[in-house]
Every structure is written in C-alpha cells, then in structure tokens.
C-alpha cells in the first residue's frame, strides 16, 4: 500500500463557525494505481491533493504514507518525505519564469545535491523522452501551454517519484493538447508510477483506473 487516509477532517473557522473542507474522509491508494478525483468546484479536490502532497495540513485523522505516520511528523521530516516520493503537476504549470526549460527540469536535482555529471545525464534523458531537446534553452514564456505542461511533467518526473499529484493538469489546455497529456500520464502509469489527478472532465477521468467522487468534502457514493 502506498498511502492511506483515515477519518480525515479539515476545517476553517469563519465567523465562529466551522466550515469543513474535508470531512471524515477515508481513502487508500495502492502502488501503480491511476486515480481521478472528481467533483464540482469547492468540493475539496484541490484540498485533498494538497493534503496528500503534504503541502497542507489537517486537523483530525491519520495519514500513513509508505507505512509512516505523516500526521505525527514534524515539518522537516514531512518535506523530506514529499521531496523524495512525490512530484507535483499544476494547472497553471508554475514553471520558474527566470529559468530555461533545461534549468527548470534540473532544479529538483540541485536541491537533492546530485552531482553535475549525473544531473546532465538525467536531464538529457528526460528531454529526449519528451521530445523537447530543441526547446531546452527557451524560457517558459516562449512555449505554448501544452509544451509548458510537458516541461512541468518532466520536472515532476526527474526525481523518479513514486506518486504524481496533478491538479487539473489540462485545465488551461485545448482538447488536443489535453489528450496528449493524458496519454502521457497513461504511459507513465503503465511504467509503474502512481498518479492521482483532480479533474472536472469525464473524459480525462476515464483514463484512470478508479474514480473518487467528492461533494462538500465528503466521499460521494451516490
């Protein structure tokens, strides 16, 4: 088992009242799964992804990642864990504007203190694989949306994570670009990477092996 959420509650207090963002959520993910989280705006999709990605905390419940209790960890241990095992893909790509394609992909390796020669090899492999060797010296604003997202995914994959978290990865793309990205996710999944994506789109969700429906922070089993 890759991760398990048990009775997760997350809320904010507004005007003295608790507003639940996640409510009594139970959720297991096995390695190699491709899960789509669906639900209307405000149903808690992004919040859930942030919690799983350890970017955000929660108030109650247990979260075990690779048998380790995330809910009892300190910030440092937690960030060490997600840096090691999780890659993020965002709807707005969030490439670093000041860095070239090559440097964007290389950055996670820098933070893992990987040697220069090894970095070069890894980045070159990745550029090859995504067919963007010719674009390696361009800056993000010189790329189309689809290309930017490709770089985003390449960057997420460079550290060989076990899990990719993608929040509306095709939300800013046209249908053709969307399809390419989803196809890519499918291939990655077949190679053994676990993927959890949040999406509005039924067709994107269909790429997954399993769909989790959310409504108002709860599982919607209807």
């Amino acid at each position: 088992m890759l991760l398990e959420l048990k009775n997760i509650f997350k809320w904010v207090t507004q005007g003295g009242k608790r507003i639940y963002l996640l409510s009594d959520l139970n959720f297991k993910v096995e390695e190699g799964e491709f899960i789509s989280i669906m639900g209307p705006s405000g149903s808690g999709k992004s919040t859930l992804l942030n919690v799983i990605g350890m970017l955000d905390g929660f108030q109650e419940g247990e979260y075990n990642f690779l048998e380790q209790p995330v809910h009892t960890m300190k910030d440092k241990e937690r960030s060490k864990l997600y840096k090691e095992y999780i890659g993020f893909v965002f709807q707005a790509y969030h490439l670093i504007d000041e860095l070239t394609v090559y440097e964007n992909i290389e950055t996670p390796l820098l933070y893992k203190n990987i040697k220069s020669s090894e970095r070069k090899a890894l980045v070159a492999d990745m550029l090859d694989r995504f067919n963007i060797v010719g674009k390696k010296d361009l800056f993000p604003n010189q790329l189309s949306g689809g290309q930017q997202q490709l770089v985003g995914i390449a960057r997420a994959l460079i550290t060989k994570p076990k899990l990719i978290l993608a929040d509306e990865p095709t939300g800013n793309l046209n249908s053709k670009q969307s399809e390419e990205i989803m196809q890519l996710f499918k291939e990655l999944n077949q190679e053994g990477v676990t993927i959890i994506q949040a999406t509005h789109s039924e067709s994107n969700a269909a790429y997954g092996s399993r769909i989790l429906h959310l409504l108002d922070g709860r599982r919607d089993n209807t």
Partner: protein, 799 residues
C-alpha cells in the same frame, strides 16, 4: 548550486529593469556619499601619523588662571622650551615655534619684488630632526649653521624663484632682517598640522635669545625618549613654574602634553596655536553619523523596493520549495541577489565619488586627492561596506520572502501577515522622519545664517579695507601713506590700528582697584584715532580719542565699551569719562569715551570687554590702516590704493583684507555645515522618494483586484488615486509627528552655540511637513494614477 543562485539572481536583476535602476541608484548615491566621507574622515584621522617620531612628539599646552577663565593655551613664554630641555632628562628634543610677528602676514622682499607670506615660521634647529625634514638642497646639519639662514619648502622655492637657483639668495623679511636661503626641503605632508612654507632660526631673532616668562606667544614641541612617562614629565614641567615665576606673576598654573597626533582634531578648546590646519572631532563625528544615516536610508529603500517586487517573486519561491528547496537555500538566493546589486552599486558609487571630488572640495573646502580614495583603509572599508550593506539591506526581503509557503501556488496562502506590512510602513516612516528632521535642520541653519548676516554688530564692517603697514620701514612712511590717502575723494575715513576687530588684539585685564590681584580679561587695541568714525561705533559719552598727543604727555587715552563700564561699576557712561582705569598699560590711563558694545568676536560669543587706547609710548605697534571707502568700482579703487601704497612704502608687499570678509570668515564652518546639511537632506529625501515609489508600486499591485472591482462598480480615476495616496499621507503625518520634536531638540542644541540666535518658529515645522507631504504625494500619485487608469478587465481575469 552557488552558480545557479548567481544565474537566477542575475536574470531577476535584468528582468526588472525599473526596480533595478531605482535600487542601484538609491544605493549608489548612499554609497558614494559614504565613500567620500569615509575617505575624508580617514585623511583627518591620519593627520601627523606619518612622522617617524609621531608617537613621541607632544605639544606643551598650559592651563591659565581664573583671570583667563582657566583656558588652555597652546602658546607660552619662550623660556618654557629651554627650561624643559635643561631640566627634564626624558625629553630628547625641544623646539619652539612661532609664526613671524605673532602670526600676521609677513612682507618679503626678494630682489626687487615684494611678496606676502602667511606661513613664515621661526623655530629651533631641532625641528628638522623631530619632523623628518627631507632636504633636497642643503642638509639638516648645516641648515642653520650660519647666522641668518632660512630654509624653504620646494613649493615655496618654486613660487619665489621658479626653476632658478635659490640656494644663497637673499630674502628680506618685513624690511627688517635679511636672510640667506640655506636649504630646500621636500614639501611637508598635506595632512600635517605643520604648515610652514619657510623656517628661519629663532636664535637669529630676539624671540629666541631674549628669554622671558611673560609673553605667552610661543608653541613648544617636545620629543620624548621612547617609553617616557608622560605624566611624570608633566609634573616636572609644572614644577618649573614655581621655580621661575613669582606667585603674583603666575597667570598659568600647569603644563601638560598633547600628543602630536591629536592636535589636528582635538584642539577645539585650546587657544591660539599657529597652525591653519585644524579640524574638529565633532565635525568628523557628525559627518560619520550623517553618512551612515544616508546609507541606512538607502538600505531601507532597497528593502522596500525588493519586497515591493515580492508578489511577482512569490510564485517562484513557492515552486522552488515544492521542488525541494529549503528556507536556507532561498535565503542564500536573496542574499546573492542583494550581494550582486550592492556590488554594482559600490562600483558605480565608487566611480562617481572620483567625479564629485572637486564638488566636495568646493562645498567643504577640504581637498581630497584621488590617492585618498585609493588608500588601503578605504578599499578594505569598501569590502566591509559590501558585506554589511548586503546583510542589512538583504535581511528583510530574504527573511520575509524565504518564508513563503508553497501553498501560494494553489492560491491558498494565508493573507500577508500584518507584521510584515507594519515593518514596511515603519521603514518608510523612518525614512521620512529622517528627511523631515533634515529639512527642518537646514531651514533653521539657513535662518540663523541670515540672522547673523543681518544682525547689527554695533559697528559697520562693510566698506572697510584693512591695509597692512606692519612692514613699513619707518613711521614716516605710514604717515606719508595716510596723508596720500586722506586727500582722495572716495575715502571717508582712515584709522591706524594694531588690529581689525577680533583679530590680533592684545589680551589684558582691567582691575577695579590698582591693588586687585585679578581683573576682567579684555581685548585692547592700539589706535591712532579716528576709530569711532571709521568703524561707525556708537559713542555714548565722552569723546573720540585725541587726534594728537602733545610731546611729554604720558597719559594713556582709552575708549572703553559698556562691558568694561559695567564691570567697573559706573552707573552711567558720563560718570566714567575722565576717570582713571587700571590696566597693565600703565598707571596714567584715563577713560576718554565710552562706546556701545559691539560684536568684535563671532556672534557665537557674547560681547567681551574691549578697549581702544592711544599713547605716545604704546607697547604695541601699528599693523594696519583701516580705510573706509565709498567707491563703487572696487578694482579701480584698489589699484589707486596700491599705487599710493607703493609710493610711500616701496619695499613692502601690498597686503590687504576686507573687514566684512574677515567677519564672514568667522562663520565659515557654519556655512560649510549649512551647505553639507542641504546636500545631505536633498539626497536623503531623494532616496526616500525612491523607496516610497517602490512601496506605492507594491500597494498598487497588491490592490489591483480591489481597484478593478471598484472601477467596475463605477469609481473614478481621481477617486482611486485619492484612495491610494491617502494611506501614504498618513505615513508622512506619522513621520512628521516623530520628526518634529527630534528636530526641535537637535536644533535647539545647535543654536545654543550662538550667543545671538534666531527663534525657532512654528512655520519652519509647517513648511517642512508640507514639503514632505508634497514630495510624497508627487511620488505616490504616479503609481496611483497608473493603477487607476488600468483596464479592470485585465486585473479581474482569473488565471
């Protein structure tokens, strides 16, 4: 990794051109000011340290008695030096030093040409070894071996002789002594209080050979044996007083040693040294303080501008964190960026400082060379400044920005903490408070300066020219000159005097009774009459001094001011006229007239006792003619004056001075302070504006959505401009509230230095507040209007 930081930092710097320019401009200005002032301070602190005996050389100073207000004097009787040399074994060398004719300008005759010379000194021959004189012609051993020898500095030699041979040439001083050039020495270092152009042997003059313990006009320098006990030597020297001077005659009570290296900066309370190269440690301290203030304001500026950019940068920081960066790595990134900016600013500021050196000189009168900017301490200082400014200026952006949570990427980051906003506003308030203090200070300084210029001094210094006649060969020459001048139409009045007001009077004391031990210290000045008319003094009772004194009349006729009148206890001026007055001048001195108090000294000091006297056997000589003229064409008038002068005194240099300029000279340091303060405040305000500009841009960006919504709802451009500007005006108001009392306190203290001072009035504060507000408004409105006219469709678009 480091390479990567540099890369990102450099790209960021290039990406935001406007901010980079504002940032570097602010820092470079601050640094330029600092660099110049540091090198100025460095030269000042280095005064006299270059002499190989610097550590062992001291000037003997003495403490006077109550009669002279316990003042410390740098000059003393010429007997002190020889007495110390004979009696104190730990003293290796002693030299006495006196400017020719007690510090007045000398008239030199070389061949058939006349020259004026201000730095002609008499000294003992020991001075050469003491101060490392390097002889280019002649040598130390033989310089004074022949009687009537004189040595010149290289620059002086060039002035008089050009490239001609100087050795062996004759120079006649004040139409009196004729001296032969026996040596040329390399110019003394410019940062030394030793400012002699030429030196001759004091033993060739009565000043050196006629040793006595009364007239205190001689500086005395001693070089001690290494490791000598200074306090022991002071004790032994002080003991010499009782040995040589009777108790009643003692007007000084103690000798003490002032290290040579402290003379330049720490002589503010020491009277009457001869050096023209005196500085002031207070000036140095306040300059250092001001330059650090400007630098600090520039640092604040940098922080404001850097955080103003934070909105744009936040996403990148968040992303780096998701990709595995920790806080420390982000801190380094910001520090590297700041380091690069500061480095660029230092390079620019340093370069500019070379360009503005001449400007610095014209404002402060302090000459700095390129060498002074290249001195090792300055270069090391630059390195330290680089590190310090990077740490200070980089601290706030680095600390606040490195803490950004990766949640910023999913629009979930908590609202900006009010703490950081508070800090930012606090910084702007500080900047503006400092600016307002400076505006108020400058206004009050300028007010005081104009008050001084327009104050009625009790005499009229304008339109008087003082012509030196001290080197006249005979009294007849002076008389003939006066006769020649009297007939000229554009001359109103002439007085022959010992000194112009407040320059070279003799210090004496007036006693109530002849038997009194102490009296009131006064300035006494010999004149040959007409002084009331020439200076336009206000006579209260009695008469002007008599025009002529009959042969055999031994009476000393005196004209006193009200200060002396009050001391003597007369009820009315009329009462005093005709009474005997007790001074050292002689027993037969009577009061001929009483004049209203006049400010012969600087307005910093209260009026003291002043006495003009005339007698047949005056102890002082006539040194100058005060000529009151009414000519419009000054150069023509001076030409005419010189022609008459040369006719009567053919062998004397024509040397003149305007009395009003002499008076203005008294406030030279305040004038400098005024122009320095003006420049500092202009720079401080400019830099503060850069910071405010950044903050305004930041706020406008932060409130982009709000502005968009308001516009959609119908807000006008002017409405939104007001909305954005209002907040900043509040900050300026807070700054004003802080600044006003601080400024009041400082300026009140500054004005206390003046016995005569202007009032600090409320409008100065109102003016400073308004000025700051206008400047702030101008700066902010640019950004506010830009935000207000922006298309709301853009700002409201969802990403």
């Amino acid at each position: 990794m480091i390479r990567n930081y540099f890369k990102i930092a450099w790209r960021n710097i290039r990406a935001n051109k406007l901010f980079t320019v504002l940032n570097i401009a602010g820092l470079a200005i601050g640094l330029c000011v600092c660099i110049i002032l540091f090198s100025f301070v460095n030269t000042e602190l280095g005064f006299d340290k270059m002499y190989s005996n610097a550590e062992q050389i001291y000037r003997v100073n003495m403490e006077t008695t109550e009669e002279y207000d316990f003042e410390t004097w740098a000059t003393m009787p010429n007997a002190v030096g020889p007495a110390i040399a004979q009696n104190i074994s730990q003293v290796k060398r002693v030299t006495r030093l006196i400017k020719d004719d007690f510090g007045t300008t000398a008239s030199l005759k070389i061949g058939d040409k006349n020259y004026s010379e201000n730095n002609l000194y008499l000294a003992d021959s020991t001075i050469f070894k003491m101060f490392d004189f390097k002889f280019l012609e002649g040598d130390v051993a033989t310089a004074f071996s022949k009687p009537k020898s004189i040595v010149l500095s290289l620059a002086t030699k060039k002035r008089f002789f050009g490239n001609q041979e100087a050795l062996g040439q004759l120079i006649t001083v004040n139409n009196n002594d004729t001296l032969q050039v026996s040596g040329i020495y390399a110019d003394l270092p410019k940062n030394s209080v030793m400012d002699f152009d030429m030196v001759y042997n004091i033993m060739d003059s009565w000043m050196g050979t006629n040793v006595y313990w009364s007239n205190a006009s001689y500086e005395t320098y001693v070089q001690l044996e290494p490791n000598a006990d200074v306090s022991e030597i002071e004790k032994q020297a002080t003991a010499l007083i009782d040995k040589h001077v009777d108790k009643e005659g003692q007007y000084f009570t103690k000798f003490f040693l002032q290290p040579l290296t402290e003379i330049h900066l720490y002589s503010a309370n020491v009277r009457e040294g001869y050096s023209t190269k005196l500085g002031n440690i207070t000036t140095i301290k306040s300059l250092l303080f001001l330059s650090l203030l400007v630098l600090f304001i520039a640092c604040i500026n940098y922080m404001n501008l850097a955080t103003a950019n934070s909105q744009k940068r936040a996403k990148g920081i968040g992303m780096n964190k998701v990709l595995g960066a920790n806080r420390r790595q982000m801190l380094s990134l910001f520090y590297v960026e700041t380091g690069i900016m500061v480095f660029l600013s230092i390079v620019i500021g340093y370069g500019v400082s070379f360009l503005v050196l001449p400007l610095f000189k014209s404002i402060t009168g302090n000459a700095l060379d390129f060498q002074d900017l290249l001195a090792a301490p300055i270069l090391i200082g630059l390195l330290i400044i680089w590190i310090l400014v990077t740490l200070i200026a980089g601290s706030y952006p680095a600390i606040s920005m490195s803490g950004i949570s990766p949640l910023i990427l999913v629009n979930k980051s908590k609202k900006k903490g009010s703490a950081s906003e508070f800090v930012r506003k606090g910084l702007v308030v500080f900047q503006f408070a400092a600016s307002i203090v400076l505006i108020i200070a400058v206004t009050i300084i300028l007010q005081q300066m104009s008050f001084i210029k327009n104050k009625n001094l009790g005499y009229d210094p304008n339109g008087i020219i003082a012509v030196s006649v001290k080197s006249a060969e005979t009294g007849q020459q002076i008389e003939s000159l006066m006769k020649g001048l009297e007939s000229q139409v554009n001359i109103e009045s002439i007085s022959a005097v010992q000194s112009m007001p407040g320059a070279n009077e003799s210090g004496r004391a007036v006693r109530k009774l002849a038997t009194d031990n102490t009296g009131m210290p006064i300035a006494s000045c010999r004149t040959d009459g007409n002084i009331v008319q020439t200076l336009k003094l206000n006579i209260l009772a009695g008469n002007e001094l008599p025009e002529t004194i009959a042969k055999g009349d031994s009476v000393i006729y005196t004209l006193i001011n009200e200060k002396i009148l009050d001391y003597l206890g007369y009820k009315t001026p009329d009462e005093a006229v005709g009474k005997i007055i007790h001074t050292e001048l002689g027993p037969r001195a009577i009061i001929t007239g009483v004049v209203e108090n006049f400010n012969f000294n600087s307005l910093k000091d209260d009026v003291g006792g002043y006495m003009y006297y005339k007698s047949r056997k005056a102890p002082e000589g006539i040194r100058m003619l005060l000529v009151r003229y009414n000519s419009q064409d000054l150069s023509q008038f001076i030409g005419q004056l010189q022609a008459t002068f040369n006719e009567s005194l053919p062998n004397t240099a024509f040397d003149y001075q305007f009395v009003d300029r002499h008076v203005a000279q008294l406030y030279a340091s305040e004038e400098k302070t005024a122009s320095m303060a003006t420049i500092f405040s202009a720079l401080a305000i400019f830099i503060a504006c850069l910071g405010l500009f950044g903050l305004a841009a930041f706020t406008a960006e932060q409130r982009r959505k709000e502005i968009g919504v308001r516009k959609v709802l119908g807000a006008t451009v002017s409405g939104i401009t007001q909305l954005l500007s209002k907040d900043f005006l509040k900050l300026v108001l807070v700054a004003f509230v802080i600044a006003a009392p601080v400024a009041y306190w400082f300026m009140h203290k500054w004005l206390l230095d003046f016995a005569y001072r202007t009032e600090i009035s409320w409008w100065v504060f109102a003016f400073a507040g308004l000025a700051a507000m206008c400047i702030a408004l101008l700066t902010v409105s640019f950004q506010a209007i830009k935000a207000a006219v922006a298309n709301p469709a853009k700002s409201l678009r969802i990403e």
